[in-house]
Symmetry: C2
Subunit: 215 residues, 2 copies
């Protein structure tokens, strides 16, 4: 996939930072499960954070079947944003300060996953992508849990990425000024896991816990 | 401030996690400059990441005067979300897996800052909040830079926070299962600053660079 931008996905500002290729878009979606979902409810915009996961050319998110966000998104236009915040870019003028980031915006109609087996397969994929091997270690999903869960999916047909990296770009005249400029890189770090106090004696965290990373 | 929730800000799901007090809301906004702004353009929702900063009971965000996002948001209903992603919560069943987070949703009409001096004051406040003492170290702002910048503000009158912390809460029957459960804490870390290669010899990063933190 390297789709031509649509009116909604064509990056207007600093468009040399725009990316429309599948590899870049997938890598950003796979790096950061936290997303925000934008939707319109009663005529006004809402933005709700939730976790997304990708399978092929779709992303999914889920929650309680009673969720207002999921109800409001179902079968309607949404915009999903995933942003990895990579750093503060400090220039010699306030104007040229910036951020480094990797961001994806995906537009389209959110579709509900209705088939029971498809729902379970999607949830398994979510768990396995975050924590390989975990699904089969867990207590099996109950039918009432599946019923209480709504999953929405969005096909990645209208999607763009915007990426900024590197140092500040100052006005040529400003490079001679005695002002420090540079980048503060930012990174999401997974700290050592904390056992639940009721974890049975002798149980240690599986390998997927120590290997978990974001960004 | 500890405003009663409105129809839009009343947290519906897991409402024991809802917070409406000013101290909680301000602390989250002050901890994480990255936000997403939700707005409606041509009838469909958009979500755009940008930096926000808070002054008193307002948040602000800014960008190029040519920005589609800023133009579309001006004098219309927006929803701004700030989310600090604090951890993965791993339970004994897939269903009880969760995230720890601190999140704010603010609704209202975005107002453009039009007065020249007010614009400069807002930009100074942004720089000073991120990097105390930096504004006066920088090359002074040019009039054309001020003109090329649009700043939008949102009064925090319709706002809620939702916070989850702590370990997994499993079904009572599941605590006896030999399944590891716990939390992987996540933290945004500022790595050592990288000097711009054109920084003049002998210049070192000011104190505000080393002290910068997020989350």
């Amino acid at each position: 996939m390297s789709k031509a931008p649509t009116e909604r996905t064509r990056v207007k500002r600093v468009n040399e930072n725009a990316k429309y290729d599948e590899a870049t878009i997938h890598a950003i979606l796979d790096a950061q499960p936290m997303c925000t979902v934008g939707y319109v409810f009663n005529g006004t915009p809402y933005v709700t954070p939730t976790l997304q996961w990708r399978e092929g050319n779709h992303i999914y998110w889920h929650g309680s079947a009673a969720s207002r966000m999921l109800e409001a998104c179902e079968e309607t236009q949404v915009c999903v944003n995933v942003t990895v915040f990579d750093g503060m870019v400090m220039a010699r003028s306030a104007f040229e300060h910036s951020c480094n980031y990797r961001s994806v915006m995906a537009f389209g109609i959110a579709r509900k996953v209705v088939d029971r087996d498809q729902k379970e397969a999607r949830l398994k994929a979510m768990v396995e992508q975050l924590f390989p091997g975990r699904w089969d270690m867990l207590r099996a999903m109950k039918e009432k849990e599946l019923k209480a869960t709504t999953i929405l999916g969005l096909e990645l047909n209208e999607v763009s990425a915007k990426v900024r990296s590197g140092g500040p770009i100052d006005d040529e005249d400003d490079y001679g000024l005695p002002i420090w400029a540079g980048v503060i890189p930012l990174q999401m770090v997974a700290l050592p896991a904390v056992d639940d106090p009721r974890t049975l004696a002798g149980l240690v965290a599986p390998e997927h816990v120590g290997k978990f990373k974001i960004g």
